[in-house]
């Protein structure tokens, strides 16, 4: 199929729309055993013993595994090795797994799981992150010495001076809730011990085959080469199929290895919700100094993130919050203190947005509140303070080398939705109508990829065959976002060949070099970069082979219309023909491309540095009504504009934005993981409410393309930027509708007071 034949191209669409795509639970293996996790009713307790005898004696049960059975290392973690494959010394949250029951059928395993007895001494649970930071708080991890996982700071300028220059100081407290990724496919794994060479094949629903392989190998005490994680379609991840999903694979692999049979473990929704890590709930105290002229002179903020029972990636999530703690605004004097904290709540880790949705909820309301105090519009206030070409961020990074498109994104949304005109129609809680109208806006900038969070490089292999077909493999993972399709499109475009030549090879950790995890919206920029570089290397090999024949220098060989040619289009060799000839010349048309993220820098003591190698810019606005009697919010219409660098597969990029907006609407209005005394009560999709079709408005997306020079393809990222600003836009719209601000998520409105009699001087 040619790229232009349809609005949208995906290599996996046919399989998915016909039901033929095989997700993990759809895979069948002969002689397979079924494994299920065992939880306890404790929230914080010291384990005395785990009695598995009764479960083990049940008919059909093959084995019950606990920490004792782990031949390698039971503790792992990307930053701090505190996460257990099985709880060993203590139970630290309600979702801690104490054992796994392996049986001939899933029903038997589920039944037997109830027979496992956990004897433990309950300990006082620490459920409030502020209380957890106090010196006498019970410790979640005694050997860590405190419940503070990590701290970050920004120290820029002099905030005392900054506040002195201010005419107004605005000070508010904000709170955000715990939310669940709610990927439609729960965690799942199948592990198959390969009889021929003893390698353990792992199929699973996870977004990071390489870290899964690492966890499995470390847990089993075997070499990386003895574990092969094979790419399997995944029913959604959103950042959530990292640590927990890897642990599910590790436990399954352990059972398969010990029992010498294929083992499948598919999570029931309530297990998934109970155990899997969530988005961090935040508490933010924010002070902003502004002048009468509407300039921000200083920001002081204190951020406390509840990381739950284990570290996971809390230090990285809170780092992004810290770097972006002032949003896309230039502030000369900043003092930010950020704390990631252990509690006995559910673990918090990576989720689409990664520390920015919380902060944007704060900042994009703060700028509106400040504008109101100054007496100018929120838009004007933003214009006076926003980053522009050459601006210096609060961490001292000069924004150049790419187009700073903040104002472009803002203006695009303003004109598309006729913002100014509609702003004048907002009800502000007044009027006779029961449906109160409001419009709201929010914008952000976002550092691309991992930044100073970690090692950031990626590989791609292009292996052209003698008949002209092409095998492509890239070290990024298909999370459902269309990564493979984007990679294939980039490959075809770079090589100037027809798209139907390219087959994306089913990925395997035994083939492609470890390229890190597909998170941080790094798939397209890093994977696509590697593909482009591999294609360029392949082209130079081909050019060398044919330049003499084409009568030109190697640099003059051109790749177009599915073939190669010299200086004129006359001397042309078709691509398939060229590949056949290369085979005869004994030259491999094979290339490995490696894209390394450009240098970034960070000073942990001052919070200064070039945090990210490039940035993206986005803006979203929403119209809604609030019913005065019921408080019910109806979203009417939403608009988004995002600079994506270059849209490789435009309809897929739009899809990312629609989906991100929907998730952000859920964050703003509906979603909340609830617990009672640390025991989660929202354990399925009936009580945990994600947006349905009727909850969402018609959405309009505008793609802004400013190809980025540091990206080999010009493309940047979109997965997360799309997901971080609709909630604050909704908060601003609700304020414009009702005249009231909301400082906590999700926004819950009860009945509103009757309109006041509006005398003179009332707006």
């Amino acid at each position: 199929m040619s790229k232009s034949a349809a609005k949208c191209w995906r290599n996996d669409a046919y399989a998915k729309v016909t039901g033929r795509a095989k997700f993990t639970d759809d895979l069948k293996f002969a002689n397979v055993l079924h494994a299920v996790p065992v939880y306890s009713e404790f929230v914080h307790a010291r384990i005395v013993s785990i009695d598995t005898a009764a479960a083990e004696q049940a008919t059909g049960v093959v084995r019950v595994l606990t920490a004792r059975d782990v031949p390698g290392v039971n503790r792992f973690g990307q930053i701090i090795r505190d996460y257990r494959i099985f709880a060993d010394d203590k139970i630290r949250y309600y979702g801690d797994v104490v054992a796994v029951v392996v049986a001939e059928t899933r029903e038997i395993a589920i039944h037997a799981a109830q027979l496992v007895e956990v004897n433990a001494e309950a300990l006082p649970a620490v459920l409030d992150p502020e209380a957890a930071m106090l010196p006498d708080a019970p410790l979640v991890h005694e050997n860590h010495g405190s419940n503070i996982v990590n701290t970050h700071v920004v120290r820029r300028g002099n905030v005392e001076e900054g506040f002195k220059q201010a005419d107004f100081v605005i000070e508010e407290d904000f709170q955000t809730q715990t939310i669940e990724h709610a990927y439609m496919e729960t965690e799942a794994a199948v592990c198959v011990p390969r009889s021929t060479d003893g390698v353990l094949e792992v199929y699973g629903s996870m977004q990071h085959p390489f870290s899964t392989r690492r966890f499995v190998a470390v847990c089993l005490g075997v070499a990386l080469s003895e574990v092969e994680v094979i790419g399997t379609p995944m029913g959604g991840g959103f950042g959530g199929k990292d640590d927990t999903a890897a642990v599910v694979c590790a436990r399954t692999a352990l059972a398969a290895k010990l029992l010498g049979r294929p083992v499948k473990m598919v999570y029931r929704r309530d297990w998934s919700m109970r155990e899997s890590y969530k988005r961090h709930p935040y508490r933010v105290h924010y002070r902003m100094g502004v002048t009468k002229a509407g300039a921000i002179t200083a920001v002081q903020c204190r951020i406390v993130a509840d990381g739950g029972a284990y570290c996971s990636v809390t230090p990285w999530v809170t780092w992004r919050s810290t770097v972006q703690c002032c949003g896309p605004y230039v502030v000369a004097n900043v003092h930010c203190d950020t704390f990631g904290v252990y509690t006995n709540n559910v673990v918090a880790g990576a989720m689409r947005g990664f520390g920015s949705p919380q902060m944007n909820f704060v900042i994009e309301q703060m700028v509106e509140i400040a504008a109101e105090r100054v007496g100018i519009s929120g838009i004007e206030f933003r214009r006076r303070n926003m980053v522009r070409q050459g601006s210096v961020t609060i961490t001292g990074q000069k924004l150049d080398g790419h187009k700073v498109a903040m104002e472009q994104a803002l203006d695009t949304v303003l004109s598309e939705i006729s913002y100014e005109e509609k702003l004048a129609r907002c009800a502000h809680g007044q009027g006779d109508d029961d449906e109160l109208y409001g419009i709201g806006i929010a914008m952000s900038y976002r550092g691309v990829s991992l930044g100073a969070e970690g090692v950031d490089f990626c590989a791609a292999i292009i292996n052209a065959q003698a008949d002209g077909s092409i095998l492509l493999e890239v070290g990024v993972h298909e999370n459902g976002q269309g990564a493979e399709s984007a990679m294939a499109l980039i490959c075809a475009e770079e090589l100037g060949v027809n798209l139907n030549r390219i087959r994306y090879r089913r990925s395997s950790t035994s083939n492609i070099p470890d390229s890190g995890t597909t998170v941080a919206s790094r798939g397209t920029i890093m994977g696509g970069g590697a593909v482009a570089l591999a294609a360029r290397e392949l082209k130079s090999k081909i050019a060398e082979a044919f330049c003499a024949k084409l009568g030109c220098a190697p640099e003059e060989v051109r790749f177009k219309v599915d073939g190669i040619c010299g200086k004129t289009d006359g001397e042309r060799i078709g691509f398939a023909d060229a590949m056949r000839q290369m085979w005869q010349m004994q030259r491999f048309p094979f290339a490995l491309g490696t894209f390394k993220a450009p240098r970034v820098s960070w000073d942990e003591h001052t919070g200064q540095g070039d945090a990210y190698f490039t940035w993206v810019y986005g803006c979203q606005a929403v119209e809604l009504t609030v019913n005065r009697k019921t408080g019910k919010v109806k979203l009417l219409h939403a608009v988004a504009a995002h600079d994506v660098g270059r849209a490789v597969n435009p309809e897929m990029v739009r899809g990312q934005i629609y989906g991100g907006m929907a998730m952000s609407a859920g964050y703003g209005l509906h979603e909340e993981v609830k617990a009672h005394g640390g025991k989660m009560t929202t354990l399925n999709l009936n009580t945990y409410r994600i947006p349905r079709s009727m909850d969402l408005p018609e959405m309009k997306v505008i793609l802004i393309e400013n190809p980025d020079p540091v990206s080999p393809t010009g493309a940047k990222s979109i997965g997360e930027p799309a997901n971080e600003i609709l909630a604050p836009a909704i908060a601003n719209a609700i304020s414009n509708a009702t005249g009231r601000r909301h400082f906590a998520l999700p926004i819950r409105l009860g009945a509103l007071p009757e309109p006041t009699m509006c005398g003179e001087g009332c707006k």
Partner: protein, 160 residues
């Protein structure tokens, strides 16, 4: 005692031992029709939706014996025998309505039932029809576009 069931136009003799099975497991395991997904087990998400006598049915909470003599259509039965996509499926592909694809089988079948009954729905009616099918990836926008785009392929009903 055994029972008959029609699945994707094929008569199936259900062995007595399977009558008490959950039908979603019977389809997925015994018939290897894995298009219907199990995502909540309590009837809350729509991932397991199949059509029973052309009506969407969330089957994760039901038993095989509840379906004696009924006509079941799963996603595997919508595609033509030669593999050509049904126009509704093609529209899902063309409109970018598929991301992870986990909700897709249930969503397509729910939309199919709607268009059989109401071949010229408004966007609001489409939203209403897919209300019980959760999708976490797409925000539903391109799904609604796809259903709208496929509608003309369904015969308009003669005005009553």
């Amino acid at each position: 005692m055994q029972m008959k069931l029609q699945v994707n136009g094929r008569e199936i003799d259900v062995p007595a031992a399977a009558l008490d099975k959950r039908i979603v497991e019977f389809l997925r395991e015994d018939l290897d029709l894995t298009g219907a997904k199990n995502a909540c087990d309590i009837g809350a998400c729509g991932a397991c939706t199949v059509l029973v006598n052309e009506e969407p049915n969330r089957i994760c909470i039901k038993r095989v014996k509840d379906f004696g003599g009924q006509r079941i259509l799963t996603i595997e039965g919508l595609v033509a025998p030669d593999g050509t996509l049904h126009p509704l499926q093609q529209a899902f592909v063309d409109c970018g309505a598929i991301q992870c694809g986990y909700c897709t089988p249930g969503m397509v079948l729910t939309a199919h039932a709607l268009l059989l009954k109401n071949p010229r729905p408004t966007r609001e009616q489409i939203r209403h029809a897919i209300f019980k099918n959760l999708c976490r990836c797409t925000g539903y926008q391109q799904i609604i576009d796809a259903i709208e785009q496929a509608a003309p392929h369904y015969p308009a009903r003669a005005p009553a």
